[in-house]
């Protein structure tokens, strides 16, 4: 009997050499001597059994949802496609180390002539996996310990724990994740964390200890996330020379906020996409569920990409945000927006645009930023097909503004304030893509529209990050 191992969806030759003779054998007596070339696309098959071998602690009801579609296949090509999709879904659960697919003709007593069995051979992940790294960064070394418990109770629940012990700061995070069986996109997670950050542009040190619960769900083509977060924030000055405005913000505060994010992402990749668009709208309301911080925050991110001739891509992006303090307390420096740097408006120093006091940047309650990029492959395409494909050259134009609005005035006054004193910059550089998560940039920037108080970084600027304007 012929067997077909389907590991990835590769185009099969139309005439399947293995299968036709066996099918021919089952036909009635008169068999024509020459081998008939069967057209597999038209060959009707029925998937009779789907087995999953190698399960020990995963519960059946979880897996039934992922493989249900395989039964609907009508011909062999569809069987292969649906099995491939089911394999992807099983891998997405994050509980199997690898999944192999076996398509065989049906065995057993009730086997039909055109029956097929599909067998998934899976290897479950171990109950506990750990990782240990050392990291060296801005004058600080740290040791990072990670622990993961996948598939805790058999339905793809996951607990992860990360602990980072450094020469300056210590931080940790514990997270519990549970997807809905049958609907992996609907999931919820609970996180516990302590994070410390040092922000030299504001001479500020911030320690956040918090707990958050998040519920993700898709609605049609959009993805939504609802989150409640409770954070105990501790702010302090980073040095004795911090400005008094920053010193006044030192102390403790408790933020309890509910936020909602809607994302529509049709790009083909998160880093250096060739086509598609991204729209992300985020609202956060703090204060009505406890705590002593009251505000309403809106954040919008829009990105459009289109391919042009010769592998070049034109990309336009627009970001904006608004923070409205509710109640009589002014906004806290930890909630405001910051602008400038190699990941936003290039040509300016990190977060060094906007309101400042004695050299410390205080952030602003409203901002907008826009970017226009033209990406091309490296000139003369060195290393094409391999390493060279990770690089791109880009020409960019960035603009933005960050300020505090006087909420008593009308929207016209607000728009006017945001439109005056626009900072902008242009330049060119090289972009390196790191996996599917991050990118590095080396640019030559020319900043313009510089206001007094801004700090610029004209000339060569290096940037690394996940989210770029």
């Amino acid at each position: 009997m012929g067997t077909v191992h389907a590991r990835s969806l590769e185009p099969l030759p139309v005439s399947g050499p293995n299968l036709s003779p066996s099918v021919d054998e089952l036909e009635t007596v008169e068999v024509e001597p020459e081998t008939k070339q069967e057209v597999l696309e038209n060959k009707r098959v029925i998937v009779q059994h789907v087995h999953i071998d190698g399960i020990s602690r995963t519960k059946d009801d979880l897996l039934i949802y992922e493989i249900a579609d395989v039964f609907k296949a009508k011909n062999l090509i569809e069987v292969m496609k649906k099995s491939h999709e089911a394999r992807e879904r099983l891998l997405r659960l994050g509980i199997f180390r690898n999944v192999e697919v076996l398509i065989d003709t049906a065995q057993g007593e009730e086997a039909l002539a055109e029956g097929l069995d599909v067998i998934f051979e899976v290897k479950e992940m171990r109950r506990l996996t750990g990782s240990y790294n050392t990291m060296v960064g801005n004058n600080e070394g740290s040791m990072v310990l990670g622990l993961k418990l996948p598939n805790l109770f058999g339905r793809a629940e996951k607990i992860t724990f990360q602990f980072s012990y450094g020469t300056k700061e210590t931080s940790y995070g514990l997270s519990y994740f549970k997807p809905q069986p049958g609907n992996f996109d609907k999931n919820f997670s609970v996180n516990l964390y302590k994070v410390t950050g040092q922000f030299p542009w504001s001479s500020l040190r911030e320690t956040d200890r918090g707990v958050s619960t998040e519920y993700n769900f898709p609605i049609w083509k959009t993805h939504h996330a609802l989150k409640w977060e409770g954070v105990w924030r501790e702010l302090s000055s980073l040095s004795r020379t911090a400005s008094f405005s920053v010193r006044e913000e030192s102390g403790h505060s408790l933020k309890s906020s509910i936020s909602h994010t809607m994302t529509v992402d049709t790009r083909n990749s998160a880093i250096l996409p060739k086509r598609g668009a991204l729209l992300k709208i985020n609202q956060e309301l703090a204060g009505y569920t406890g705590g002593d911080v009251n505000f309403l925050k809106e954040d919008v991110e829009l990105q459009l990409n289109t391919s042009l001739l010769w592998d070049s891509v034109l990309s336009a992006s627009l970001w904006g945000g608004l923070l409205v303090p509710m109640g009589d307390k002014p906004s806290s420096i930890a909630d405001r927006f910051y602008l400038g740097g190699p990941t936003t408006v290039r040509g300016f120093s990190m977060y060094s645009i906007g309101p400042q006091s004695e050299g410390d940047y205080l952030g602003g309650e409203a901002y907008w930023a826009g970017g226009l990029h033209f990406y091309t492959p490296l000139p003369f395409r060195p290393g094409q097909g391999g390493f060279g494909d990770l690089f791109r050259t880009h020409f960019f134009l960035n603009a933005g503004n960050l300020c505090n609005l006087n909420y008593g005035e009308g929207p016209n006054a607000h728009l006017q304030k945001l439109a005056e004193c626009i900072r902008w910059s242009y330049g060119a550089g090289i972009v390196l893509r790191l996996g599917n998560i991050a990118r590095l940039e080396l640019n030559y920037c020319i900043p313009m529209g510089v206001q007094s108080g801004d700090r610029i970084c004209d000339g060569v600027q290096f940037g690394a990050g996940i989210r770029f304007l």
Binding site: R240, F244, E248, G251, H252
Partner: protein
């Protein structure tokens, strides 16, 4: 502060005269401030009034965290932020205002010794009574300390501070002391101060010095603060001359200003009247 930064700050300070808008920051007067902080704040205020330096008092819930040394009070003068009485005295001296210039070397050494006595005995005893005595801590101190913050932050911060203070007490050897022993220490300290003061109006000569400001701050606060019991207050009340000393300074430096403001408003109405 290192010696070099000390010198630098003094040089910078000496350059400008005392501005009109100097501000003193302390915790909230009504609900938050504790006995020990109130004593320190009152001492600084008394010192500045004795030097005739104008200062505005601003109450902030996060004054303790704003302070560069982590202790209230602190003053914001021009571009400088200085906290605690010792450095403030140095700072004022750099600007040319000093109360102890007229003292000779022996008296200066004595003043230093008594200052250390007050700081090591009285202040530590105040901290002990506030945080290490369970009934005071539970009924008064913790709820006052956490009052500006929402739940559960008020409890977390109060317990964190209590743990910190108790640890410090253990480190300096006061962990094993009982309340009775601490009150006896307070008694001995008051006895020493009372003996040094004798029948003089102030500790040294006829003019007040920073030591007077410090002693006044602590004793006046102890006499006027309501705790769960009056044991601490009673220890100070045993010494008549100390009570008279506090009243004298209060009348001269604190009520005088209020009286002056009353008089000046009267003078505005009746056009011309001499002030005291």
């Amino acid at each position: 502060m290192s010696l070099a930064t000390d010198m630098f700050v003094c040089q910078m300070a000496a350059a400008e005269p005392w501005p009109e808008n100097a501000t003193l920051y302390q915790p909230l007067k009504g609900e938050q401030i504790l006995l020990s902080d109130n004593a320190s704040c009152l001492a600084v205020q008394a010192f500045l009034r004795m030097c005739n330096l104008p200062v505005q008092v601003v109450c902030r819930a996060n004054a303790e965290y704003m302070s560069p040394s982590g202790k209230a009070p602190f003053i914001h003068v021009g571009n400088h932020v200085v906290s605690e009485l010792g450095p403030i005295v140095q700072f004022a001296k750099a600007k040319g205002h000093s109360l102890s210039d007229g003292l000779d070397e022996i008296q200066k050494a004595e003043m230093k010794a008594y200052t250390e006595l007050v700081n090591n005995m009285l202040l530590t005893a105040e901290l002990y009574v506030q945080w290490c005595d369970d009934s005071t801590s539970a009924k008064i101190t913790r709820s006052r300390y956490g009052s500006p913050y929402p739940w559960p932050l008020n409890h977390i911060l109060a317990y964190q501070k209590q743990w910190e203070v108790r640890r410090k007490m253990k480190a300096i050897g006061w962990g094993g002391k009982s309340l009775k022993q601490v009150l006896e220490d307070v008694d001995r300290c008051c006895q020493a101060l009372s003996q040094r003061l004798g029948t003089q109006p102030y500790f040294f000569t006829k003019q007040p010095t920073e030591l007077d400001a410090l002693v006044f701050g602590h004793l006046f606060t102890i006499l006027t603060t309501q705790l769960t019991d009056d044991a601490l207050c009673e220890k100070v009340k045993n010494y008549e001359n100390l009570i008279k000393f506090c009243r004298r300074i209060e009348q001269q430096y604190f009520e005088e200003h209020d009286q002056e403001s009353v008089l000046s408003s009267v003078s505005r109405c009746s056009r011309g009247s001499s002030t005291k």
